[in-house]
Symmetry: none
Subunit: 130 residues, 4 copies
DNA sequence: GTGGTCTAGACCACC
DNA sequence: GTGGTCTAGACCACT
């Protein structure tokens, strides 16, 4: 799986890394049990500081997407339950997205269509090498 | 309309302000043409610095949600077109949300139901005084 | 001649007023010796404060475009010499405009064509009533 | 490249800064990809507040002259397209300049000569150290 | 060490 | 009274 970092982006690098791993897991480009590259390895590949990679991994670990194993390094977690705190966090983000959509004159139908399209995209982002 | 700031939140105050104004516009608690409080006034009401309010207003202005009128101060914009850059930005956020939902075992049906519920919420957040 | 004020504009109203009078003089919609509306009259017509109109007129007067006559009010000046301070001021603005054009990949030819077109426009802005 | 601030000028410092960077880019004293001094560094060098420099940089960023790279700070943008909004903005300024020139009895020929001279100046402002 | 955020307070331009 | 500009200084996030 290829991870791309945009140093011009507004969002911090460790967050871009975290987001791409989440998308990778959803699309099954990263499978449960699969090992992620080591912190230093990925840092070298991306040309960034390994502290940054570490922060991204820690974030993913805290959120339950991966587990850190002292011997195998970071591996994709087996499963993830839908906690109430997750849904309330997600609802908050969706409320804001919906509000923006409303302000831009997207009807509920159009908005829902967009949501559905992106859900399908999340399942099937074009698989790439590595 | 009541705006509430959470100083413990990770997101900056000016962004919380911006988000709440967007939600206010979507839910018609703020109507097109309506004047927002002056930066200094709102800053005093919220107990924050007026520069912070100013930054939030500037952001809203750049995004087209409000206009700065030389005489009336900040007023809610009359209209907002759905630009392609807006939809691509929105798609990006929805892709990430969907990926997180997939990882937490939300089916497409459940996820779409959530999106629809929040769209309705955005239209009708419980109205509050002033 | 119709003057239009945009309260949303970044530039102050008195400056918009000043600019439009200058363009009016260049295009001969305002002829030397012609009287401008009184400060209070124009202020009422434009729906702005008469101090603002006064400031615009004062600016035009200082620059030699109009003369203030105690009895006839503001009248368009007969003539205007090309002082060295005017040309150096103009050169400064043209240097900046040219630099911006260069950064946006306008060739000298294109830029000069644009300058010529606007010179012709300045001579012949479509004449309107009042 | 040397930047000079005139605290007596009517135009705000951040705008003077912005203008000089634009002229620097046009004259190739600042090359695409080249890093600008950090906001705090430049502020110290110019003896002004870093917020003021920041505002100038933000303006340049919004206009596409520079990009803010998370790691290298502010760097001169690689390229800049001639958007229609740019040309209409430029046309507006050129119309006013031309009108002023007409009022000061500059013939089209003289005016165009001035425009051409300043275009050449913009390409080759005398190069200075650092 | 970089930029980002926030505060506090002063002065000015505009209306 | 409104926003705009500038200063000064503190603390934090990011790399």
């Amino acid at each position: 799986m290829i991870i791309e970092i945009n140093t011009l982006s507004h969002s911090p690098i460790y967050e871009q890394l975290r987001d791409q791993v989440v998308i990778g897991i959803a699309s099954k480009k990263l499978l449960p049990g699969e090992a992620l590259p080591s912190v230093r390895r990925l840092a070298a590949d991306l040309g960034i500081n390994f502290h940054t990679v570490n922060k991204g991994y820690t974030m993913l670990c805290d959120e339950g997407y991966i587990v850190m194993d002292r011997r195998k390094g970071a591996v994709v977690a087996q499963t993830q339950k839908s906690t109430s705190e997750f849904t309330s966090m997600l609802s908050g983000k969706l409320l804001l997205n919906a509000a923006e959509a409303v302000c831009h004159k997207l009807s509920e139908k159009e908005y829902i269509a967009l949501c559905g399209r992106e859900y399908k995209n999340a399942l099937a982002v074009s698989k790439e090498g590595i």
